[in-house]
């Protein structure tokens, strides 16, 4: 399997996204914002469409759109312009509608879009892997630096605000991290499935862990395992990699829930 370069590249990109997506998703889940990745993904779709229309790299325009969308959701929510779920819905639907209009204007409303919607990890290039690895390392570095702050705010946002923690800046940082993760994961699992890789490993880890930190570490391990096992299964079963990776993550959640239920008996 690893004799072929496209599989080696796929494993490289999958490993980075498998670790980064749950690392960022961990904080979103703790803040009960599990669907934010989905919302940002839909805005990223508008970015992809803009890229196709303007003949610019769709990954780059998706990254820009995702960052704008992620920060917009956070600002709408934190400034009370709209409740959390309404802010998400507003950005979510505006993004998908804009994407459909732009991609239609570009005359590209066809199967070529599937690589962005459902991923196309097997067509990834060395340059793609280098970009994913660099941005992934930066994202993980930022999380390592901010772990204590992000965890503390997740535990008690109002208490942190009273004590003078700059909640607005922290929220924008998490929105931006989520956006970068969505843009990077787009080629691996696709816009429509990226949120699953941010949430399912965390949900599985929560059922097995004994502390916040162990939940965080286990989430990344399960995400990495899901990406590697999913790619392997997809190779031998000739199944779509993005969907297979997410199904493996869902299976991990099922096993973790079963394990916990059995342990509790």
């Amino acid at each position: 399997m690893l004799d072929t370069e496209f599989m080696r590249l796929a494993f490289g990109a999958g490993a980075v996204v498998g670790v980064l997506a749950p690392a960022v998703g961990f904080f979103l889940v703790q803040r009960r914002q599990s669907l934010i990745g989905d919302g940002i993904g839909h805005v990223a779709f508008a970015g992809v469409a803009a890229g196709i229309l303007l003949d610019v790299s769709p990954v780059l325009t998706a990254l820009v759109a995702a960052v704008v969308g992620g920060v917009a959701i956070e600002l709408l929510r934190s400034r009370g312009v709209a409740a959390g779920d309404q802010a998400l819905a507003l950005v979510f639907y505006t993004g998908i509608a804009l994407g459909v209009v732009l991609v239609s204007a570009a005359g590209a409303l066809d199967v070529g879009l599937f690589q962005y919607l459902f991923g196309s990890i097997l067509t990834i290039t060395r340059t793609d892997v280098a970009v994913i690895a660099t941005l992934g390392a930066l994202g993980l570095g930022a999380i390592a630096l901010l772990y204590r702050t992000l965890a503390g705010v997740a535990i008690d946002e109002e208490g942190a605000q009273v004590a003078g923690v700059p909640i607005g800046a922290v929220n924008v940082a998490i929105g931006a991290l989520a956006a970068v993760t969505v843009a990077l994961s787009m080629r691996v699992v696709g816009i429509l499935l990226v949120a699953a890789l941010m949430v399912l490993p965390v949900s599985a880890a929560t059922r097995l862990a004994w502390s916040m930190r162990s939940t965080f570490m286990l989430s990344m391990a399960i995400g990495l395992g899901s990406a590697l096992v999913g790619l392997t299964v997809s190779y031998y079963a000739d199944a779509p990699p993005g969907g297979t990776i997410v199904l493996v993550a869902a299976g991990a959640f099922g096993l973790a829930a079963l394990g916990r239920a059995l342990a509790g008996r």
Binding site: A151, V153, D156, T206
Partner: protein
């Protein structure tokens, strides 16, 4: 020396024409232990939010250590236990992880925790008597122990003013007694100014220096011994100015 808390003529409503609080005057000296009680819906939590600068009065002024509360510059000296404090998220945060969150503002936001901060977290955990369960998920403990954990979190920041909103909700009578004794110890040993807000005075009445009864406005403010018998359970009060 400025008062720790100084409210003058404070009125507040969440929308036009609403009067959650009306013309409230309240001063708390540094080092005082004051209990504020009143019926549910009487404006206590709003009072707390104004004291902490989370809401701005529609009329009057709210000062913290001499500065306007909403732009108080030394926020790290504030310790806050919110009403029905509950952990955010699903991850099984341990007592130590929860208490560490209270050291965030004072200990810096970037990088791992320094040794001195870890020591202060351990001290706060020991002080509330949770040393044996420091690495146990907080939510697996009893309601009383969870509240002790949240108090330790507030203490970890070494607050000059500790504000507790309904700290005994969901806590059994025995644990309420021990929480009240714990707060008395903090007040006596550490000299922390404590603002204790609840729908009833309860066990803490024996330890505080002043009782304040709030029902839209302040209807009683004095020593515990001066409180008319009828008002010892403020949730049933029909008090008037």
């Amino acid at each position: 020396m400025p008062l720790a808390v100084e409210l003058e003529g404070v009125s507040f409503g969440y929308r036009a024409g609403q009067h959650v609080l009306e013309d409230v005057d309240l001063g708390i000296d540094e080092g005082e232990f004051v209990a504020v009680a009143g019926p549910n819906g009487g404006g206590k939590t709003t009072l707390v939010r104004i004291v902490l600068g989370l809401e701005r009065p529609t009329r009057g002024s709210a000062l913290l250590f001499g500065e306007p509360a909403h732009r108080f510059s030394r926020r790290r000296v504030l310790g806050y236990l919110a009403q029905r404090s509950a952990l955010g998220g699903d991850a099984p945060a341990t007592v130590r992880e929860v208490v560490s969150a209270g050291r965030l503002a004072a200990g810096g936001l970037l990088g791992p925790m320094r040794r001195r901060d870890r020591e202060l977290v351990a001290e706060a955990i020991e002080r509330v008597g949770l040393g044996d369960v420091a690495d146990v998920p907080l939510r697996t403990l009893s309601g009383g122990m969870q509240q002790r954990g949240f108090i330790a979190k507030a203490l970890a920041g070494q607050p000059a003013l500790l504000v507790l909103d309904e700290p005994t909700t969901g806590v059994d009578a025995e644990s309420q007694e021990s929480l009240a004794a714990l707060l008395d110890g903090l007040h006596t040993d550490l000299g922390v100014t404590i603002l204790y807000v609840s729908h009833e005075f309860g066990a803490v009445e024996r330890f505080v220096q002043r009782l304040v009864l709030v029902r839209r406005g302040v209807v009683f403010d004095g020593a515990p011994g001066d409180l008319p018998g009828l008002w010892h359970d403020p949730s049933h009060t029909h008090a008037r100015h």
